[in-house]
Symmetry: C2
Subunit: 260 residues, 2 copies
């Protein structure tokens, strides 16, 4: 007999049952989603009955959980083939400041479609964040970044003028900007300030990144400094929510270098 500690079928009232089942389905879906992301399940998920036993819930709840994951594009379900993992995601490290190519090393080749690479007059806020005078020129890059055939992110980049001008002379299709910044400055990068949001893809961006309209994107705003503290690189990075997970670790205490 199946132990059903949270078995909705025994609760009274149709609306309550549906709500409780939806709560449980979400709970199960969160665990399965993480297993799929972390690669701890194979290409095919266990059957409904096995999952129901594992999560001590009903098959109806399992079906509802699998529907949630299918709607997110994570799994495919077919009558006889069972439930297959449809899309693997890639981890992007949050522990250290890495370019996309560095972080995906060994996962495939990153290729950049360079959509813009030019000098522009810095909007006031960009000038301020890069420590420039109002009206100074910056180098603006727009790159659509692929891993193999898949677009992963769309990066809008503002570079400080001197180093930016030198970056323009290099192969932007196959090299991370971070790597170029270190080569050209003769310094390693220092620290970066980061803001992470979830935003919907507008229609134009959705077409660019090959996702449905309003698909959730991870939006990173990142200001990167050289080791001597000079801000050189302000980026607005849209990552496909269905393809990238940011992964890192935190400690309860603020690390010393962040306090300094």
């Amino acid at each position: 007999m199946q132990v059903s500690e949270m078995n909705t079928e025994r609760a009274g009232g149709g609306a309550t049952v549906r709500r409780l089942r939806a709560d449980q389905a979400r709970r199960v879906a969160d665990i399965l989603r993480h297993q799929i992301r972390a690669g701890t399940v194979g290409e095919t998920l266990p059957g409904e009955q096995e999952l129901a036993a594992e999560h001590r819930t009903s098959r109806n709840t399992i079906r509802e959980a699998l529907t949630l994951l299918r709607d997110e594009g994570l799994i495919d379900r077919a009558p006889r083939a069972g439930t297959r993992v449809a899309a693997r995601k890639f981890d992007h490290g949050l522990d250290a400041l890495l370019g996309l190519q560095e972080t995906l090393e060994g996962r495939g080749t990153v290729r950049n479609e360079v959509r813009a690479a030019q000098r522009i007059t810095a909007p006031a806020v960009v000038a301020r964040r890069l420590g420039l005078a109002p009206g100074e020129q910056v180098v603006y890059l727009e790159r659509l970044r692929y891993l193999g055939d898949q677009p992963l992110s769309l990066d809008l980049t503002y570079l400080a003028p001197e180093i930016g001008a030198r970056v323009l002379a290099h192969d932007l299709a196959h090299t991370d900007v971070f790597v170029l910044l270190e080569q050209l400055s003769g310094q390693s990068l220092g620290s970066a300030d980061l803001a992470v949001e979830a935003i919907p893809a507008d229609r134009h961006t959705a077409a660019t990144l090959d996702v449905p309209d309003s698909a959730p994107l991870l939006m990173l705003e990142r200001l990167t400094r050289l080791d001597d503290g000079t801000p050189v690189d302000l980026e607005y990075i849209r990552m496909r929510g269905d393809r990238i997970t940011l992964r890192g670790s935190l400690s309860r205490a603020i690390p010393e270098w962040k306090v300094l």
Copy 2:
């Protein structure tokens, strides 16, 4: 005369013009979005003409950028009132491990609607991550977390059995679980592993968090350990994408404590 370095109106071909204008609108929208988030603009945005001069682009492009931000729910536009900021977001720190109430200190009162607080048998993956034997009990919490009247996040929490049982005896409506874990264990928290994704709100979650269906959510999976390394708290946290920004800093080198 307006300098239009990237003025689409001068480019040839209707489709190309539309694409270029959409590219520029996105570029402008990213900068404005960040200014709104960071609170560096007031309640009302500058007029279209001023924005067009600032970003060296056309008023049509500015209008398109403002439409993008309106569609994200960030601003309201009215014929005479101009463009007003509709929604402020809250920063959640990524630099240190903080509970929601700690991170929002001074922004208002966090209140938790406790939707579940009970012992359950741990699903295998939960048991494994918390360092428990298969089939052990854990404490499961489900909390809808409000700042004032606004739901901000929905947190599904699995706690190690002993400390979890003691947490159950406390006021979960008004206290962060992190604070309770430290009080009850007599240790400070140590480190946490974190995964951040952007996922769409399923219908049930959308209703719970009071957002439209498929609205983008920040999904955090977080495993937190006590200072002595014991894993005690596995959480699946859905944050409203329109209300929370994760903010932190990174260094090029992996900090020493993360390598250990």
